[in-house]
Symmetry: C2
Subunit: 196 residues, 2 copies
């Protein structure tokens, strides 16, 4: 059975939050016969999405046109803030979560999971400067500022921006195997050597 | 004086090759008062670019509309192959290089630099499996398969896909300071911890 991974896009989404996992997961889908499909999904895909750093991208699907999503990934960025308290967003996240295997976030995408009530009583990661904001939405959350990502079973949250790459490799471990994750890591030459 | 960084896009460009540096460089441009501008540039920006993993993105500028480029970044991906030997591409790369401070590549973007003659007698990095192809274009190149990126002064080449993030931080070192690169690294939480 096909595993369908939907990466949510919205105006003001931070580029690497979604593009890092996109690369990892789409490389996996393209190069291996694991029956995985990865697509981007936005409330409305008829117009370009303008991301946090002004990159303009076209989503593959609208909420309506998207096939059932098994793994949802919600990126962060300043664009998360106008979506807090948005009932349509909450409903969409909850309805996808109910049918999904895994609901995940990168960076301040965790704020949207919290806003939908999905982090109640759970440990979570988010952007380093956003833990107060996260707890102001739901003070039952256990903050994990030192974790690259936190796996709470059906919900996984990652730290800021580039942490989505690490979490995406963990998703391959969860959904396939350590071996497959290592192969994808090798294919994207993810042997980081920050020069500073 | 504004430093203008142009990130080249073309059909079949590998997403993280350009999106990693985009995030690093655009974060720098947005958060600091260093008079840096980052934009994407394609031969034709009237239609969406379809990247290697099928992400569709709109370029900010066409070759014609782009302002003078000080730093050119050419990503890799399967889409580089149809551009080898393309005289219009060679001319564009050469004309930008002549006016630029730095010409850079990520992954198999190095093939396009070699095709334009810019790597003659120079050491270079590229995707791990593409060194033979690189040398078949120009056998005067010194292959550096163990380097994350190779700085040859006015030309810098990076290894595959995710190596562009490391190179982009090095670009900030070159164009600003180690301190600034560290600040951007902190802001994108680039403390990679590959889980496999």
């Amino acid at each position: 059975m096909t595993t369908r991974i939907g990466i949510a896009l919205f105006d003001g989404a931070e580029e690497l939050d979604w593009a890092g996992p996109w690369e990892v997961l789409a490389f996996w889908a393209q190069m291996f016969d694991d029956d995985v499909e990865v697509f981007t999904v936005a409330r409305d895909n008829s117009e370009p999405i303008t991301c946090a750093k002004r990159l303009r991208v076209l989503a593959d699907h609208s909420w309506e046109s998207a096939p059932p999503i098994d793994v949802l990934l919600i990126p962060g960025g300043q664009g998360t803030r106008p979506l807090l308290g948005d009932e349509a967003w909450r409903s969409w996240v909850l309805s996808v979560h109910e049918g999904a295997t895994l609901t995940t976030s990168v960076c301040t995408g965790a704020l949207l999971l919290a806003d939908a009530g999905l982090l109640k009583g759970k440990a979570a990661a988010t952007y380093w400067s956003s833990f107060d904001e996260l707890l102001s939405i739901d003070d039952s959350i256990e903050p994990r500022p030192d974790d690259r990502f936190v796996d709470e079973g059906d919900v996984i949250t990652a730290a800021g921006v580039s942490a989505g790459i690490d979490m995406a490799l963990h998703l391959i471990v969860r959904l396939a195997s350590v071996e497959r994750a290592k192969e994808v890591k090798f294919l994207i030459q993810y042997d980081p050597q920050p020069p500073v």
